[in-house]
């Protein structure tokens, strides 16, 4: 999927089919609701569709798509926080949750985003984990199992599950360091 051009409809469809689900899951981490995430990503593809003729020469369409998604997300969260403060329709904790997620998103390093490289880094990090730790992490983050379910499956305590996942996350953070902005102070 490296050199996608949008010269014909099939290319656009392929691009959509490949990236829509991924971007929705990515977006959901920041905007919390699946429905909001789906709308945002649908909008992103509408923008792409409208500009597809001028995009023929963009070398790396996936990166472009990714930046577009990030920007839409940031706009969405800013607007959400602003209107929530004005209308007082959300609880304080909810607003702060959105605020922290917005800040995280703004920190996300998207200029150097290389999808294939990221995949490789994640793969490497996961492969380097001890077997049990790897299994628990995969069940939690890829299969969506709850800590309770995992604890029951392996007959271990929930806090052990928690620890294993935190070991895995540390490893991943290390590997993906270059995408995590350092200059927040």
């Amino acid at each position: 999927m490296k050199h996608i051009t949008l010269e014909n409809k099939t290319d656009f469809e392929q691009l959509y089919l490949c990236y829509y689900p991924k971007l929705v899951r990515f977006t959901r981490e920041y905007v919390i609701s699946v429905e909001d995430a789906e709308n945002i990503v649908q909008d992103v593809f509408l923008v792409l569709w409208e500009q597809k003729d001028s995009l023929m020469y963009v070398q790396d369409v996936p990166s472009f798509l990714f930046r577009l998604t990030k920007n839409k997300c940031v706009d969405f969260l800013r607007h959400k926080i602003m209107s929530a403060e004005k209308n007082q329709c959300l609880r304080d904790t909810q607003i702060r949750e959105y605020e922290y997620r917005l800040r995280s998103m703004e920190q996300f390093e998207d200029n150097r985003f290389e999808e294939e490289e990221v995949s490789k880094l994640i793969h490497n990090a996961i492969q380097s984990l001890p077997e049990k730790c790897k299994e628990i992490f995969l069940l939690s983050r890829f299969e969506g199992m709850s800590h309770q379910e995992i604890a029951r499956k392996y007959n271990i305590s929930q806090s052990t599950v928690n620890n294993q996942i935190s070991v895995a996350m540390k490893k991943l953070k290390e590997q993906l360091r270059k995408y995590l902005s350092d200059n927040i102070f």
Binding site: E13, Y16, L17, C18, Y20, P21, K22, L23, R25, F26, R28, E29, Y30, E38, Q42, F45, L46, W49, E50, R91, D92, T93, R96, E97, Y100, R101, R103, S104, M105, Q107, F108, E115, V118, S119, I122, S140, R141, F142, S146, H147, S159, N162, I165, S166, M169, L172, K173, L176, Y179, L180, I184, F185
Partner: protein, 329 residues
């Protein structure tokens, strides 16, 4: 607050295990400490990147969403192209206009009459002003032909589809609209002609007077305001008085009005309006009567949802084609 506590709490937060109060406490702690703030952001950003990995079942989810997406792009695409068409018309009209003027002043007769076609694709509408001042609005999927010697003295056009006419009055030089089934002869007037290929043909008069002659010249009627003529394939003309005459040209502003209209007729309009193909799967639905009003902003998706919500009717979208069927009991 100690390190262990924060690490544990963050972990629980991202695993969705914190209660509302726990969350509040976590955020209060985070506000105090930039190191943990960074920890929070890194954790979230890493999680989100991990979530981007491909998953089984993605393709089916994406295909479902792509269908919805296609319906949205259709609407946008249409809007954009309509603008282009309007500009296009202006250019054509200028060309005919100057040609007509040239002939008018030179009194020249063209040795050979040629016809120019103007076609409005599905999903679009167009407006023309003819050199004699007549205004014509053309609905989607309509073909209009006019002779190259069209002028204030020679006012005849050929139509397949639907058009609304406001004809400049000139008693000496009648304006004629020809369709495959009839000829409509007018003096000065406002009327609507609907004559799509393989569909029922109607002429509806709003103001003035028109004379309709069927193509084989067997029947001839004069229409009064508020009257509608139905012209059959065999050339029979049936007159009726039409209620809600002011709605007959609502399509010009992108509206569609239906008062007890059979579904099969509505479907034809929708196909042209949204440039989609619609198949009535269960034939018994074809003659079901519907009353509905669509405005310019209504999308095909909304129309389908409305049909589904109000009547025992369901729909599926297969690629370019929409299928209407009875709701499964």
């Amino acid at each position: 607050m100690n390190c262990y506590y924060m690490e544990e709490e963050l972990n629980k937060y991202f695993s969705n295990l914190l209660s509302e109060e726990d969350k509040q406490m976590l955020f209060t702690e985070l506000d105090k400490d930039k190191v943990w703030q960074k920890e929070f952001m890194d954790e979230l950003n890493v999680s989100s990147v991990i979530r981007m990995q491909e998953k089984a079942g993605d393709i089916f989810y994406a295909q479902r969403k792509f269908k919805q997406f296609r319906l949205k792009t259709k609407k946008i695409y249409v809007r954009k192209v309509s603008l282009q068409i309007v500009r296009y018309v202006a250019v054509i009209m200028l060309a005919i206009g100057s040609l007509a003027l040239y002939q008018y002043y030179n009194g020249a007769e063209s040795p050979q009459v040629e016809y120019a076609d103007f076609e409005v694709p599905a999903g679009q509408r167009a407006q023309l002003i003819l050199p004699d001042g007549t205004a014509i609005w053309l609905n989607a999927g309509t073909k209009l032909s006019y002779p190259s010697d069209f002028s204030a003295k020679n006012r005849r056009i050929y139509l397949e589809g639907e058009g609304y006419f406001e004809v400049e009055s000139d008693e000496k030089n009648p304006f004629t609209v020809h369709t495959s089934l009839m000829e409509v002869r007018v003096l000065g007037t406002k009327f609507n002609v609907k004559s799509y290929k393989d569909e029922a043909s109607f002429v509806t008069l709003i103001k003035g007077r028109v004379e309709i002659t069927s193509q084989n010249a067997t029947n001839k009627v004069t229409l009064n305001p508020s009257e509608q003529a139905f012209i059959s394939e065999a050339g029979d003309i049936t007159l009726s008085t039409k209620n809600g005459i002011e709605k007959i040209n609502a399509w010009m502003s992108g509206e569609l009005f239906y008062l007890n209209e059979p579904l099969k007729n509505i479907v034809k309009d929708l196909e042209r309006r949204f440039n989609v193909r619609i198949l009535i799967k269960d034939k018994e639905l074809e003659n079901d009567l519907f009353t509905s009003h669509l405005d310019e902003k209504t999308t095909i998706e909304q129309v389908l949802k409305r049909l589904k919500a109000t009547r025992g009717l369901d729909y599926t979208i297969k690629g370019d084609q929409i299928e209407l069927l009875n709701i499964k009991k």
